[in-house]
Symmetry: C3
Subunit: 346 residues, 3 copies
């Protein structure tokens, strides 16, 4: 049901500290904490003895102690102490998960194969000094009562801006332009180039544009579910649509919607911009106005999920703008089949 041999964002780095954090990821209960040395640790959030979530316990140095009978677990999940006895019983361990910390996020590997850091997305600008990153939803995952697949679909089809986000980043111009779909090994790219169009309200204000603009929307979805949205406007004729997008109101919205369950998601996202990087006012626009934008999408996607829950087999019709999302859907299904097949054969 989920791709497992890949990384998922488990938490913002600042969420993981000396207080254990319990979070369900891919239907599995996980506890995250940071050792006294500052290393993040992820264990199965279920004591091997009587099942209590270890997230109710206490960090002691590099270890985590269960709140019920006091079993003490090492960062590799092995039980290091059972109060009242000197020998550890056979099997007294919980699962431990590999972690990587990058770009403000703690990434977890929940698959059976060896973790592979080359599968992390190369979103170098997230912590590059020339760019400014504003965390989404005030630095917490946006809890979404919908499948992470619906979030990927939403991000791969920005024609919805015209109807869902009219006050901010949408207007009638978008659907006049077709989108192009490109496919790589683990990536699908949606590209929509809009020469000489009216800028929607947010861009007009942010860029101070007097007239028409050249506008771009380039969305890259990477397996399992990373989606970078690369968007912006410049004055007409500055070459942005030929590839020089390091200008104007250029910004990225990196998204990692991590499945909590098949029907709920921890949506991690941020905004990383190249313009007015010192402006506290612009920070606030991303913090506040774009949170509203994400909530506009959330209302839509949660309504979709309720419909699909009640009528899972009802047929759907595809339209032109679905091409990128359909391409990624097939890629995801192929990858899932390959992974499941390998698991079955093993």
């Amino acid at each position: 049901m989920f791709l497992r041999n890949c990384w998922y964002v488990a938490a913002w780095s600042h969420e993981v500290g000396q207080e254990p954090l319990g979070r369900t990821l891919l239907n599995e209960p996980v506890v995250l904490y940071r050792t006294e040395d500052g290393d993040p640790v992820a264990l199965e959030d279920r004591c091997c003895h009587r099942g209590l979530p270890l997230s109710l316990g206490t960090v002691e140095g590099r270890r985590l102690r269960c709140a019920y009978h006091g079993l003490l677990f090492d960062r590799d999940g092995a039980c290091a102490e059972v109060p009242g006895q000197s020998r550890m019983p056979p099997g007294s361990a919980v699962r431990s998960y590999p972690l990587v910390e990058r770009a403000g996020w703690v990434w977890i590997w929940m698959g059976e194969e060896a973790p592979d850091e080359s599968l992390l997305p190369d979103w170098w600008w997230m912590d590059h000094p020339d760019w400014k990153t504003v965390p989404g939803n005030n630095g917490k995952p946006l809890h979404s009562r919908c499948s992470h697949r619906l979030i990927v679909d939403n991000l791969l089809d920005l024609s919805h801006l015209t109807f869902v986000h009219t006050d901010t980043i949408g207007n009638d111009e978008i659907t006049r332009f077709p989108c192009r779909t490109e496919r790589e090994a683990r990536l699908v790219r949606m590209e929509r180039l809009m020469p000489a169009v009216e800028p929607p309200p947010f861009y007009k204000a942010a860029g101070g544009f007097a007239g028409k603009v050249d506008r771009w929307q380039i969305v890259e979805a990477i397996l399992p579910c990373y989606v970078d949205v690369d968007v912006g406007c410049t004055e007409v004729g500055r070459g942005a649509l030929d590839g020089d997008r390091v200008q104007g109101t250029a910004f990225h919205v990196p998204n990692c919607p991590t499945p909590e369950t098949g029907r709920t998601t921890h949506h991690f996202y941020a905004h990383t911009r190249l313009f007015r990087t010192d402006s506290a006012e612009m920070d606030e626009v991303f913090r506040t106005d774009f949170l509203r934008v994400f909530h506009e999408d959330l209302e839509i996607m949660e309504a979709q999920q309720r419909v699909f829950d009640s009528r899972p087999d009802a047929p759907l019709v595809d339209i032109n703008v679905d091409a990128p999302a359909l391409t990624f859907k097939r890629m995801h299904e192929d990858a899932l089949e390959a992974e499941t097949g390998a698991r079955t054969a093993a």
Copy 2:
């Protein structure tokens, strides 16, 4: 599970306007709106493209536009516009339902056969100028967490007035008198005539009766679940029990409990009286005191539903006053079997 080739009340007329109204009827999501010409429209409340409830969308003239990708639907359910493309994809339509507007209610036909207006109940007094109608529950359906079948049962056995509605319309007299059951093609009639009895509190006050009264209860249940309650009192010996019921405190309570699901119901009802039709005070009694009466029943029926949900197969015992309800139950089951059989054979 539900009779489908018949009309159900979908909404009060005043509920249907330019703001789309989403409502689940017979387990199906339906959106209701009124065109700029004033015609009510009912469509499947689920966009054929990505499933979003169309009730989140916007009315444009005679059409309804989806809030996600902007597909525009005609009142017959056909898709008239897909933003970003000129050709409509095959199958781009949602189901449309026939509607009739009558007596303050919008009636919907959800079956596969052609709609048949002769199946509407003939409750002519609901909008006759000599009568005065006060909508039940302030003009909104009373949402009931119980099957519509329990509501029909409740209305077909008014012996419960003695135990449930003692403060208003019940007293000990009722169960002294047997009820008579009559059966027609699609109708079951319960009749209880009570000569020279004490009037219960509501009738005493409303009719200003000094002593005993002749009282009647005549309930007609019509397939699928329409129930008219025709009740009243007169001074003794005025011929009311011989059929002349256009006098005294005569009033009707027309009921249309429309299934939302098998376990929840939109209960539409009203009070239509022939006495003191100009009295605002009497309007208020129906609006307020009778709402309490309906809530007394609701508490009972919702408790029943919880019991049936937890023990669906527990046996029940029938008593004499159940005769009308049992007759109607058999009629309903026969009709359901006939309809399902016809559907299977087709």
Copy 3:
């Protein structure tokens, strides 16, 4: 799933009065009331006619009248009156359950065999004048969203005091001492004797101990799920650990966790002490501080239940302190198998 041929606490005596009390026990709806003679009665909480909970009805002398159509039930469950008819229909009765009132509690027998009072626990001190009983949770069952089996496990392993109740009755001394397990016909005894140890905060304050104490924990679990906790401290060397426990801060905590469902429990318990029996201040300590202790356990056990619900088959590891609980678990399983086998053979 539940042992049935045994007594369960259904209510505190003071909970059962002229107002019918509806309560689900062992997955069955039960209504409890007290007749005008003061006798407690327990009936199936579901009218045999149309299923309404009889707990919505009214006590009339020794009988209970249904709130819907007025059927009147005797204390043996037989229907004594059906309004509107003189003959009782066949089968018009609800189940009646044997009750015994003892030690402030009303005990119910829900099995098919004849009730056997010898199976009640002999907790004579609960209403003995030399002892003082303070009801748990202010005289109401503590509603617990966990299996009653988890509560029994919790009480049979008091090593958890060290980790869960540090502020009151736990400290590091406990897990230094092993526990002994004894088994009788329907009883498992856990015994932990702790000579010359530091008293935890509650004992220190309650007993006014200056230095070390002799401390004991003796827990007796009796089928189906009665658990008496016999604990206390004395000054060192007074013979308490040789059996003379009628001294010091001796008290019992009798527990009867009655299953509501397989996953929820009505936890009845009390505190019965032999020291400072006249002290209102000490009453208040038990009423307030010990309620907090029970809530500390409740938080743990409800978290366990949620884990077991989501992963019922995940393996568990046993440790030394589990011996008494595992012994009782096997005894309970054997009894369940014997009872079910007898039922199947019958």
